[in-house]
């Protein structure tokens, strides 16, 4: 099926075909809502296909917690959905209470890194 968008110009309607990138841009991005740990509560829209989490300022999701490794975990967009992968952190990555090396995230999952807890929400 082809995604189309109607666009009114004066009294005529033009149907515009969108590229996958344009369709993605129109959607609200999935997000990580930080519910505990330094700086919470706040939300991080997942605007890129790869985003690192850590206490380093260079991490895309940078959180000033001593319980986080500098680059603790990474979120990567895959055909199965966003995957959260531990990057050899000292305190581990927990998804839904399970210590994981990696996990495909699903809507409303809880992701914990040290004292930092996120909820993952799909839009």
């Amino acid at each position: 099926m082809t995604a189309r968008k109607s666009q009114s110009i004066g009294d005529t309607t033009q149907v515009v075909q969108l590229t996958p990138e344009q369709r993605r841009a129109l959607r609200e991005p999935h997000l990580l809502r930080q519910v505990s740990g330094p700086g919470s509560p706040r939300s991080f829209p997942l605007t890129r296909d790869r985003m690192t989490i850590g206490r380093s300022e260079s991490a895309e999701i940078s959180i000033a917690s001593q319980q986080l490794s500098r680059t603790h975990a990474v979120l990567e967009k895959t055909p199965e959905g966003y995957t959260c992968r531990d990057l050899g952190s000292a305190n581990g990555t927990w998804v839904q209470g399970v210590k994981v090396a990696s996990a495909v995230l699903r809507d409303d999952d809880t992701v914990q890194l040290g004292d930092v807890v996120f909820e993952y929400h799909e839009t």
Binding site: T83, V95, Q96, A101, V104
Partner: protein, 293 residues
């Protein structure tokens, strides 16, 4: 070096794709164990297809070891869609228990006969070799493997894998209650400890991770007696008695939505709390990768 364990298919009986099973997954039985470059595959349910895609992406040539609990559909149906068996560079060892799985390779190839599938087993590009598993410990690329016959219609085996002090047990399709001296007693008193056999406890003992069939809730099980699957709460007794660290409740019933699986797990956690110990319980879930040991 321990194991890396990835769940590729966690559903029992039949694939159940859809929104209501999205969290735990809808593909049937398939778990990958990795030790370094050694790839061990438990069962070839429909989850095997995605594992095949991943293995093709990871490396070529591929050497892998397949362990099949039994040849029911939900444990072999992914095999014809396992991309590496079409590659001439693949070497696949199919490990068969010498006493009990003599026909396994024939059954695996039988599902690819012309009436069922367009490509014949004999046309596959990979080298597929049968290996016998003898009673007691077997060595597979430095991993010690033991097999144990389980309680399931037909013949079914569980496998214990050990490497450098780490132990993972894969024991699916096992109606444990039928091995009790009086199986009806459990339903009369659900709170009482379950008399799990010493042989099964010994097989599982000390596992860092037990992946086991916990298809039914206590409410579902009485209607499914003799179908070959465990009530999840009995697994808790097995795991606690065997000093298991983590229990992955596996082979979810196709009628169970994600919410129902969560409720089943909560019942198991409450039972584990009552029985004492530090057992961690989670629902086997597609896309979860764990480091064990």
């Amino acid at each position: 070096m321990g194991f890396s364990v990835t769940f590729w298919g966690t559903r029992g009986s039949i694939p159940t794709p859809g929104a209501s099973t999205q969290k735990f997954g809808g593909d049937t039985s398939c778990v990958e164990l990795r030790v370094g470059d050694t790839v061990l595959i438990c069962d070839a349910g429909t989850g095997l297809r995605k594992l095949g895609v991943e293995l093709m992406r990871r490396s070529s040539p591929l050497v892998a070891h397949l362990f099949l609990s039994h040849p029911h559909w939900d444990h072999i149906q992914g095999f014809p869609f396992f991309a590496p068996v079409y590659a001439p560079t693949t070497l696949l060892h199919v490990h068969c228990v010498a006493e009990g799985q003599e026909r396994l390779r024939d059954l695996l190839s039988g599902q690819m006969e012309g009436d069922y599938f367009p490509v014949q087993f004999s046309d596959l590009g990979a080298r597929i070799e049968q290996q016998d598993l003898v009673p007691g410990p077997n060595q597979v690329e430095g991993v010690t493997v033991r097999a144990m016959r389980l309680e399931h219609p037909g013949t079914c085996f569980g496998f214990a894998f050990e490497h450098e002090g780490a132990k993972v047990v894969y024991a699916t399709d096992n109606e444990i209650d039928l091995t009790f001296p009086d199986p009806d007693q459990v339903q009369k008193d659900l709170e009482a400890p379950r008399p799990v056999s010493e042989a099964l406890v010994d097989f599982v003992r000390g596992a860092d991770l037990l992946i086991a069939d916990g298809q039914y809730t206590d409410e579902e099980y009485p209607q499914k007696i003799g179908w070959g699957h465990a009530r999840a709460t009995t697994l808790v007794d097995l795991a606690v008695r065997a000093d298991v660290k983590q229990l992955a409740v596996y082979h979810h019933d196709p009628m169970q939505t994600d919410e129902l699986v969560e409720a089943k797990l909560e019942t198991c956690r409450r039972r584990a709390e009552r029985l004492g110990g530090k057992l961690q319980i989670f629902g086997a879930r597609e896309g979860f990768e764990l480091r064990i040991g």
